[in-house]
């Protein structure tokens, strides 16, 4: 057995840890960095076992120290979901991936058996890395959906409920079909749905993992918020690669700004694109996102549509970060937020400037990985969301606009994203379809106040809603129970089944979970 002790290093942390977007800080004891084996072996069972031993060594050390521990991907979450008072395990250097072969699949696997359709991926792989790998000519695949940015790790994104706005797809976690979970210093589990078997038992045997095929257990762990242990590897379903024609519009045929008028409201609520003179098309869009600026009156709307096109032979995606309009002083955005707290009339003006700078109307064609590519550098942003059933989307938008008038103006825009229903127990895409109103913009006191007031605003209109776990949310323990109902109880029960030792469960608790009743 090789000496792999160098694969794990411990970095004590004397200053508060901050997330990527600098909206959350936590006093932690330190960080375990886990490295891929230095001899760069192929990604297979041997390599997985070597990585597993180091991750479980970290868990065991934390247990000996009596401190909690949590896995961290890229620190991308805007909520406190990833925080701990103990140790963070940075698994982002565990980023290998490979397609599974047809002969490795369970004969009852109900998904596509196309070559390269299923990928075994280490939990630390960034979305950007997966895009680059699978979209090339060698494999010819792409992600069915992803979040708007590409910097999250696959497990970080799926464990917190990251979604896109693909009209016929669920969220990213809905494309995970098998999970390799390290549920403590020694326990290893390979988890699939009973209704959706994926792999023959050979893999789990090679890993020494116990196989669990159970729908409720899988549906709990796949959006597990890091509470079940450390997810080291997952199996992800992909789709044949495509090109997307992305069409961004902010004006009608007459050159007038698009606004939230009756025609636009109808499309937002019915998805009947042919009812709108500007949006009708021979083909249904693959992706649709209207973005509403609540600071204008009537509210202006930017529409982002994407249409699926066949891949062109010889097309080579260009994943390089495009020339950013943010210059060396991009950090000025953080100051802008504070200035807008003081000078509220400046919010609308800033929104206009930001729209002109950041939004490029017109058409662009590219692969999934190109269009959902690198975003702005690390800077302070505000981001929350509220998910509602399609038939209440207009009520929700109106309530948010009214809230903006009441306590704003806030430097946020409302992006409406459409997601199909999930099987995951704590998924916010609970309705079919769900519309997630993504609230993004400048972080300041006004935006913080606005995001905090959302639950009461939804309650006042009796709008059923859920929120994104990885963004700023207003979940409390009673609200989580109310939103998720029996699924909440099933999630808690699954955690007790997989982590029967209370001491081990407590290792993966954090204050975020405690405040939301998830440590029960």
């Amino acid at each position: 057995m090789p000496d792999d002790t160098g694969m794990l290093d411990w970095v004590p942390q004397s200053i508060p840890w901050k997330n990527w977007h600098q909206t959350v800080s936590a006093n932690i004891k330190g960080v375990y960095n886990v490295w891929y084996p230095a001899d760069m072996p192929q990604y297979g069972a041997d390599t997985i076992n070597r990585c597993t031993r180091q991750i479980q060594r970290a868990i065991d050390e934390a247990k000996q120290k009596g401190i909690p521990i949590r896995a961290l991907g890229h620190g991308w979450s805007l909520s406190e979901a990833a925080t701990t008072t103990g140790a963070l395990v940075d698994i982002s250097r565990l980023n290998a991936m490979k397609p599974l072969r047809a002969d490795q699949l369970d004969p009852a696997y109900p998904g596509s058996k196309d070559a390269n359709a299923l990928w075994l991926i280490q939990g630390g792989a960034y979305i950007s890395e997966i895009n680059r790998m699978i979209e090339g000519d060698q494999f010819g695949r792409c992600l069915p959906t992803s979040g708007a940015a590409n910097g999250q790790t696959i497990v970080g994104a799926t464990s917190t409920g990251t979604h896109g706005s693909v009209l016929k797809s669920g969220a990213l976690h809905d494309h995970i079909v098998a999970i390799h979970l390290l549920a403590g210093p020694t326990a290893q589990l390979w988890i699939e749905r009973a209704s959706y078997p994926v792999l023959k038992s050979g893999l789990a045997t090679a890993l020494g993992a116990t196989v669990i095929r159970d729908d409720a257990t899988f549906n709990a762990v796949v959006l597990g918020l890091g509470a079940f242990g450390i997810i080291a590897n997952v199996v992800l379903e992909t789709r044949p690669r495509m090109l997307l024609l992305a069409r961004n519009m902010d004006k009608d045929q007459g050159g007038q700004s698009l606004v939230l008028d009756a025609a636009m409201r109808n499309v937002i609520q019915t998805l009947d694109f042919n009812s709108h003179p500007l949006l009708k098309s021979a083909a249904a869009p693959y992706f649709f996102q209207p973005i509403i600026d609540p600071t204008s009156n009537p509210p202006r709307v930017i529409v982002m549509l994407m249409y699926e096109k066949p891949w062109k032979a010889g097309y080579v995606p260009d994943y390089r970060m495009s020339a950013s309009k943010f210059g060396p002083g991009y950090d000025f955005l953080s100051v802008v937020g504070q200035l807008l707290d003081i000078f509220k009339p400046g919010v609308a003006l800033f929104a206009q400037i930001a729209r002109a700078e950041l939004f490029t109307p017109g058409d662009k064609t590219g692969s999934w990985g190109e269009l959902f590519g690198f975003k702005t550098p690390r800077t302070k942003v505000a981001s929350g969301s509220v998910a509602v059933p399609l038939n209440r989307i207009l009520d929700a938008i109106d309530a948010l606009i009214a809230l903006n008038h009441q306590i704003g103006p806030v430097p946020l825009v409302f992006g409406c994203r459409y997601v199909r229903k999930s099987h995951a127990l704590l998924a916010m895409n609970r309705w079919d379809p769900t519309v997630v109103i993504s609230l993004d913009g400048i972080h300041n006191q006004a935006s913080v106040n606005f995001l905090a007031a959302i639950p009461a605003a939804m309650d006042a209109k009796a709008i059923p809603f859920a929120q994104h776990w990885g963004k700023t949310n207003g979940y409390t323990a009673p609200r989580v129970q109310a939103v998720f109902g029996p699924d909440y109880g099933s999630w808690i029960a699954a955690r007790h089944r997989l982590l029967p030792d209370p001491a081990v469960r407590a290792m993966f608790d954090n204050d975020y979970m405690l405040a939301r009743g998830l440590t029960a």
Binding site: V31, A45, H74, W76, L203, V335, P377
Partner: protein, 125 residues
Amino acid sequence: MDWRPFFREKSRVVAVFSCLLTSACASYLIRSAEAEPVGNAGQPFKHASTSIAGAAGFSTDGPGYVTRDTCRTGDLAQVEVRRNVGQTLVTLLTLGIVSPATIYYLCEKPQPPPPCNCSQDNNQL
């Protein structure tokens, strides 16, 4: 235009300008267009460095230079040089002879071997 709210919130104005004085007053960010950045649990590595007469000078965070060898594997993916008001003043008052700055950097993520799609893969994989 109603300016009254602006003046009503004097304390917040003071807070903002206090923040401006104590936080970075100049920064320069350089990022690779392609490299996947990795830090310490998502955070950039920090390197406080003071250049003396153009040389690397001294640092409170290890050797005076940040070079590609600073990263355990791979190159640098992102470098940001920040100077706060105090550091800028020292630089100005010493005509650049003493030039303190804080460098935040991310390393390029090490890449594992490309996937083997061969039929005789190892260990059932």
